[in-house]
């Protein structure tokens, strides 16, 4: 139940190709998040799985059965929409019952399922209200409830939290995680928010411009991003990218020369020494320390954002912008000269095509 497999799936709207050659396997019970910037095709991919869009090419299978030509209603999936798409003229109860009535389910069973879902989601108190009389958070629960009562083989969630305020979003996220644990059903979740992706997903699928950039667990993506795009997309604040050149310097190490002449020793995997030449160094803001020690890099502060528990520094390294998140509070001001150390930082190297060079860690 709930095993979804996409093989060489493509989708075009007229002459515009929105999805290229998607290969993806989602295991039963897995929580998979599609993440990417807007327009990357993640929603189209979800709607294609739902059956609301037809793939242009390739094969889509649910539980081993090809469903390319099966209409949405017969795929056994349920979807939670971004706008919730609750029927405004029906009460909450009617909203939950609508899909079940369409399958000619006996009334008693419908009532039982609604009762169960309502208890689970704590929406019993307003079953007789119309969606217009509910708050955003309550509507969201009803939308999820409408999916739950269907007992689908998989849940499809299209940016379900994007219409909630920040605080509610946090708590609902946790509830969703709990719900997944409890139902242990397959869930496919679309978001543009990498924090949601990191916190909820078993596996994340990063999409860009209709292609899958990387599939992996949250930490895999964080620690070993496949390319510069994934590296920049996952993690907050974004990874710093510094331009430089790479020269091999014996087995397993190389010397990276940053613009401005500063040199860094970086370990590289064997066989990648050939990647000499222009290179991009990636380093996460949290991994840079303020340290005047050996081999430190001079930088000039452009902006200081004191958040209390940590300080976000915008600095300038030989004309390249760099962001540092330093724990604690620092008495720094715009224009101050500081020295940065990358010695404790995992450094990612990306070649001129943006592909990450595997590093021997």
């Amino acid at each position: 139940m709930g095993h979804i497999k996409l093989t060489n799936v493509t989708k075009s709207f007229g002459a515009v190709d929105v999805l290229h050659d998607i290969n993806l396997e989602i295991k039963d019970g897995e929580f998979v998040v599609f993440v990417g910037p807007s327009g990357c095709g993640k929603s189209t991919l979800l709607r294609m799985i739902a059956g609301l869009e037809k793939p242009t090419g390739g094969e889509l299978a649910i539980d081993g059965k090809v469903v390319n030509d099966v209409p949405a209603a017969d795929r056994g999936l349920a979807m939670v929409f971004q706008s919730y798409a609750l029927y405004p003229h029906m009460s909450v109860r009617q909203n939950l019952a609508f899909g079940l009535e369409n399958t000619r389910m006996p009334k008693a069973e419908i009532a039982e399922r609604i009762g169960e879902a309502a208890r689970m989601l704590e929406i019993e108190a307003y079953l007789e209200r119309r969606p217009g009389q509910l708050s955003g958070g309550q509507r969201q629960r009803v939308a999820i409830g409408r999916a739950i009562v269907r007992r689908p083989v998989a849940f499809l969630l299209d940016e379900p939290l994007s219409n909630l305020d920040a605080e509610l979003r946090g708590s609902t996220r946790a509830e969703l995680a709990a719900l997944h644990a409890r139902l242990s059903a397959t869930m496919i979740y679309v978001t543009h928010d990498q924090v949601e992706a990191m916190t909820l997903a078993d596996r994340i699928v990063v999409l860009r411009a209709g292609r899958i950039e990387q599939i992996g667990t949250p930490l895999e993506l964080y620690n070993r991003p496949a390319n510069r795009f994934v590296a920049g997309f996952i993690g907050s604040p974004h990874m710093n990218f510094l331009e430089g050149t790479l020269e091999a310097a014996g087995a397993g190490t190389a010397v990276a020369t940053l613009k401005g002449g500063h040199q860094l020793q970086v370990p590289i995997a064997d066989g990648t020494a050939a990647a000499e030449g222009p290179i991009t160094l990636g380093v996460r803001p949290h991994h840079i320390t303020l340290d005047a020690g050996e081999n430190s890099i001079p930088a000039k502060i452009r902006l200081v954002e004191a958040l209390g528990s940590e300080t976000v520094l915008h600095a300038d390294v030989a004309g390249q912008k760099i962001l540092i998140v330093a724990p604690g509070q620092h008495n720094l001001a715009q224009g101050d000269d500081v020295r940065l150390s990358l010695s404790a930082a995992p450094i990612h190297l990306f070649n001129d095509r943006g592909i990450r060079l595997e590093r021997a860690v």
């Binding site: 739902a50 209603a73 798409a85 029927y87 609508f98 369409n102």
Partner: protein, 350 residues
């Protein structure tokens, strides 16, 4: 808003009346009389007896001359108040009138004829509403038939209009298909083909379909109104597509989506169209006039126009029936005026 007006015609220094204030109120009060006056006059006249209608100058309220039955005379005689030569006043009944002299009798002394100059008598009149103007056409004429025909045409045409146009609007607003733009343009283009342009060939088509002298021949050509499709489509475009996706995920068929999701959500626009359609169909004249030639099929409008065009117009009935014809529209006006005015202001369509 109000400031706009205030600025266009503001009162100088806010003291005293500017000429524009005077003009405004003259226009409004004048408008009140000109707009409502004729209808009020019609209603008032409709309660007058034929005799009162023929009078000039007319009276505002319906009066009838009192009559009395006098011994020795078969018919009831008109009563007049007469100023006697001695200056006293008395009530006499008129037997006959010769020139300027009227021969009168006192009801108490039927045998004694008194001659009175007509200038010295005034009719004794009481206010009386001639409700027979209303009741008689209902009992003696085909009026009930006309009323029924009008109601049938209006209700049926409106129902079909709502269903057929909402289905088309649904297709044109919520589906992508080839030829959608063409269909839309085609429908809009028919706005340019009013009845008066196609009535000759339309008549031959309606006849060919066997719908001449048939109420369906009145109904069918009117129901696919482009205005209706247009109003409903504009409204349906504001219904989120996700709702339809959600319904499809909920295993609803396309028909169910139309019937259980789209139609209830389009209710306000359907109501506006329904009101318009009722008024249009109730008021239709030229087409029913062409299609219906048998008396028992006339709608109210046709019946009224035919009767009022007769050589010997029975105004007392015509006026009363005109009032009856007005009633549904006046009801719509009283209860739904706000609905209509916002509908017109919003779409610019009539």
């Amino acid at each position: 808003m109000s400031r706009v007006a205030e600025f266009i015609f503001r009162r100088r220094g806010r003291s005293g009346w500017h000429w524009t204030d005077v003009f405004t109120w003259v226009w409004l009060i004048g408008g009140l009389f000109i707009m409502f006056g004729p209808a009020v006059w019609l209603v008032g006249s409709s309660f007058k007896s034929p005799a009162a209608l023929a009078e000039f100058p007319p009276t505002i309220m319906p009066y009838v001359t009192q009559k009395a039955t006098v011994e020795g005379y078969d018919k009831p005689l008109d009563l007049y108040e007469v100023t006697m030569p001695d200056g006293s006043k008395t009530v006499l009944a008129e037997v006959r009138r010769i020139g300027i002299v009227s021969q009168m009798v006192s009801p108490d002394k039927p045998t004694e004829i008194v001659k009175v100059k007509i200038a010295e008598r005034t009719p004794v009149r009481t206010m009386s509403f001639a409700t027979s103007n209303y009741s008689e056409p209902f009992t003696h004429f085909d009026f009930v038939r006309y009323l029924w025909n009008s109601v049938f045409v209006t209700v049926t045409a409106t129902l079909i209009t709502l269903i057929v146009n909402s289905m088309a609007a649904f297709a044109l607003s919520k589906y992508e298909f080839r030829g959608r733009t063409f269909a839309m343009l085609l429908i809009l283009a028919t706005l340019m083909v009013p009845l008066s342009v196609i009535m000759v060939p339309l008549y031959s088509i309606v006849s060919a379909l066997g719908l001449f002298n048939n109420l369906w021949g009145v109904i069918l050509p009117t129901v696919a109104t482009p205005t209706g499709v247009f109003i409903l489509r504009q409204y349906m475009l504001t219904i989120p597509d996700e709702l339809i996706d959600a319904a499809r995920m909920d295993k609803a068929s396309e028909w169910q989506i139309y019937w259980r999701i789209i139609l209830p959500l389009t209710a306000p626009a359907l109501a506006v169209l329904a009101i318009f359609s009722v008024v249009w169909r109730w008021n239709d004249f030229l087409w029913p006039l062409i299609v219906l030639s048998r008396k028992e099929l006339y709608t109210l409008q046709v019946g009224l126009s035919i009767y009022s065009g007769e050589l010997n117009v029975q105004w007392h009935f015509i006026l009363a029936m005109t009032v009856v014809t007005m009633i549904p529209v006046v009801l719509v006006f009283i209860f739904l005026q706000r609905f209509i005015t916002t509908g017109i202001a919003g779409t610019g369509l009539k």
